[in-house]
């Protein structure tokens, strides 16, 4: 009935079949390639990883361990290292993400006011992003140095006691968080800046007309507008810092006394220093679980926001 109503719909059954096929075939064909790629590059290594975590494989023969069931996990649960590694991971992840979000947003707000030379300032503020993490960590290593570092020079100049930035608790964790956030902040600034620019001028003007101060305009108009971007940045940085290894490795190597050992640092130590690949894989499974929990939390928040927007 409806087919005859529209003269452009084909009349012959054969044509109709090809058309129907084309409707399914195109997306299927487009999806096949990435699916195959994903299967080989993500799911297969993941399965392998799960398998290894259930063996006693050693670095000398990574594929050749024998099946030991949940022994690796039991060992982790029994030891005292795991709770500390988890606490370190959370502190490092949330600390550097939070600090980067705050610093990046403040920088974006400043650059967005369009003072003279804001382009130059933007370039300078964005530059840490371009420095390779290991190089960045080395620069900071020098600045944090106990005897010659600039921070201690300043503190001493002000009459204070020098701080062992990288070799005492809790300063070692504070230092790596600071450097990681310093590397993340430019990304936050650039993305937030483009979100800020997408706030319609007239909407911001309307809030001024309605009697909102600059702070109120930010809270009621700008903030809700950039919040989705902000959430996305948050999850990206959380995942990114969960896997960040280079900065900690260069600056503290996980020490002192494991106080900056996050999951990735622990994996590296178990698998390559102690050569216990199976144990390393067990740590990795815990790391993956953490990442999945964060990602699911993000998706839930996002779904709720979408529902509220009536989409």
């Amino acid at each position: 009935m409806t087919a005859t109503a529209n003269p452009r719909v084909s009349r012959s059954p054969r044509l109709r079949l090809t058309r129907a096929l084309r409707g399914v075939a195109t997306p299927a064909a487009l999806l096949i390639a990435p699916m195959v790629l994903l299967a080989f590059m993500v799911f297969w290594p993941l399965l392998q990883q799960i398998w290894i975590s259930l063996t006693d494989a050693r670095l000398t023969n990574p594929g050749g361990g024998s099946f030991v069931g949940l022994e690796n996990f039991e060992a982790l649960m029994a030891g005292t290292a795991l709770p500390q590694v988890l606490a370190n991971t959370l502190a490092y992840t949330l600390g550097s993400t939070g600090l980067a979000l705050v610093m990046g947003t403040l920088a974006a707000l400043v650059v967005n006011t369009r003072f003279r030379g804001h382009g130059f300032v933007k370039g300078v503020l964005a530059s840490p992003w371009a420095i390779p993490p290991v190089a960045a960590a080395s620069i900071w290593l020098w600045m944090f140095s106990e005897s010659r570092g600039i921070f201690n020079r300043i503190i001493e100049g002000a009459g204070g006691e020098p701080v062992a930035w990288l070799t005492s608790e809790p300063w070692a964790m504070v230092s790596v968080i600071l450097v990681t956030a310093w590397q993340f902040a430019p990304l936050v600034m650039l993305v937030t800046l483009s979100a800020l620019k997408s706030v319609p001028d007239e909407v911001a003007e309307a809030s001024r007309v309605d009697g909102a101060s600059a702070v109120a305009t930010f809270t009621w108009v700008v903030w809700p507008h950039i919040l989705p971007t902000f959430r996305l940045l948050g999850i990206l940085l959380v995942i990114e810092s969960l896997r960040r290894w280079d900065i900690i490795a260069v600056m503290t190597g996980g020490g002192p006394v494991m106080s900056t050992s996050t999951i990735v640092v622990a994996i590296q130590r178990q698998a390559f220093q102690y050569q216990e690949v199976g144990m390393g894989a067990a740590y990795a499974m815990i790391g993956i679980t953490l990442a999945v929990i964060f990602a699911l939390a993000y998706l839930m928040v996002e779904r709720r926001a979408e529902k509220r927007n009536g989409r």
Binding site: E205, D210, V215, P224, H225
Partner: protein, 373 residues
């Protein structure tokens, strides 16, 4: 309720001047309409009054005080944006209540989570909830109060914008084409409502429109603009009866004022008053000040081209004999009882008391001397 005064106020963006310097003053409590075609600078002028657009040169005074540097908030205005500018993340209710909530919040209360709690408590206060309900009722927005602007039609959004600005009690109302997207019935109703509000509150209104019915019915004073230049400032009657130039003559009134070129006047000198025929000016007559008489009577010989009946009256388009084209066409507003048919030859008679003369070169109104009584 300030008295507004413009002294050589002008606006340029870089090298392009979008508003030429002009002087004007608007008394307190007036309903000023800015009327003009698209792109003539109406919104720019309105935004300058609001303090949203910087004044390039000249001074704007509220009650004798220069306000060029005043912040938007200090001006205490209500503003309807042409683009509505609703807050997309707020419900209609929150949008409308926003100005009331802002008035009552202290500076430290604008913290993200705390602020939301304070806002929802404020919105339950009877003086805010009651005001929001009242204005929503008036603008038929009650069914949509809990929706967000994204889920509204254009006309509904415009009503929310109007509601948000009318919910307050400012000292100056600035409205940028607030009714442009409403259907005819609602527009007529809102026209009456806004006029009533103006009479009730007695505040100064500045209202942008390109709809001349709105301008004529609502204004106590009209500023007609074109190409960034003020063409005329006057009451609706002055603008309608004594247009300052040919632009105003043709822009205000529907159908527009007829402009009869000096050539036609010169070719039929007996059809016009002696002074007019000799002046070499463009003759402007409104369609209602023309009469069609049968052939042979004194007047301008014309041929009927089109007869358009609109119910109570008819618009008859005629062409002076020997002429053709849109330029020389003359429209006559006649009673529907006038029986004229296409192609009929008639004679056009002018009401000499209602003739305007415009300089043929500049289009500026020529003051009439003894010719017209």
């Amino acid at each position: 309720m300030p008295q507004l005064q413009f002294s050589s106020v002008a606006k340029s963006y870089g090298d392009t001047q979008v508003l030429e310097p002009f002087d004007a003053s608007v008394d307190s409590g007036e309903f000023l309409v800015l009327l003009g075609p698209s792109g003539c600078g109406k919104s720019t002028l309105l935004r300058m009054i609001a303090g949203l657009t910087e004044i390039t040169s000249g001074e704007l005074l509220f009650d004798g005080e220069t306000v060029n540097e005043w912040d938007v908030r200090k001006r205490d205005i209500a503003f309807v944006f042409q683009s509505y500018a609703l807050y997309p993340q707020m419900t209609v209710r929150q949008n409308i209540a926003f100005p009331l909530v802002m008035d009552r919040m202290k500076p430290w209360q604008h913290l993200p989570i705390l602020g939301s709690i304070i806002r929802s408590r404020l919105m339950h206060r009877p003086e805010i909830a009651g005001e929001v309900d009242r204005i929503a009722e008036q603008l038929s927005l009650v069914p949509y109060l809990d929706r967000r602007p994204g889920a509204l039609s254009g006309g509904q959004r415009q009503r929310v914008a109007l509601a948000r600005s009318l919910v307050r009690d400012p000292s100056l109302y600035l409205l940028d084409e607030p009714l442009s997207n409403l259907d005819a019935k609602l527009r007529t109703q809102m026209r009456v409502d806004i006029t009533a509000l103006h009479q009730k509150v007695g505040k100064t209104f500045v209202y942008v429109t390109h709809d001349q019915i709105e301008a004529m019915t609502m204004a106590t004073r009209i500023i007609v603009m074109d190409h960034g230049r003020i063409q005329q400032i006057g009451t609706p009657d002055e603008v309608y009866d004594n247009p300052a130039n040919t632009f105003v003559a043709t822009f205000v009134g529907s159908p527009a004022m007829n402009l009869i070129s000096p050539d036609i006047v010169a070719a039929h000198p007996t059809a016009f008053e002696p002074g007019i025929a000799a002046s070499g000016a463009i003759v402007g007559v409104r369609p209602e000040h023309l009469m069609l008489a049968d052939e042979g009577a004194p007047g301008l010989p014309v041929t009927v081209e089109v007869v358009e009946r609109t119910g109570a009256e008819a618009i008859i388009a005629c062409q002076p004999q020997g002429q053709e084209g849109d330029e020389s066409r003359i429209l006559v507003r006649a009673s529907h009882t006038q029986r004229r048919v296409m192609g009929e030859a008639c004679v056009l008679q002018l009401d000499p008391a209602h003739v305007s003369l415009f300089d043929a070169a500049t289009g500026v109104r020529v003051p009439q001397t003894s010719t017209v009584g």
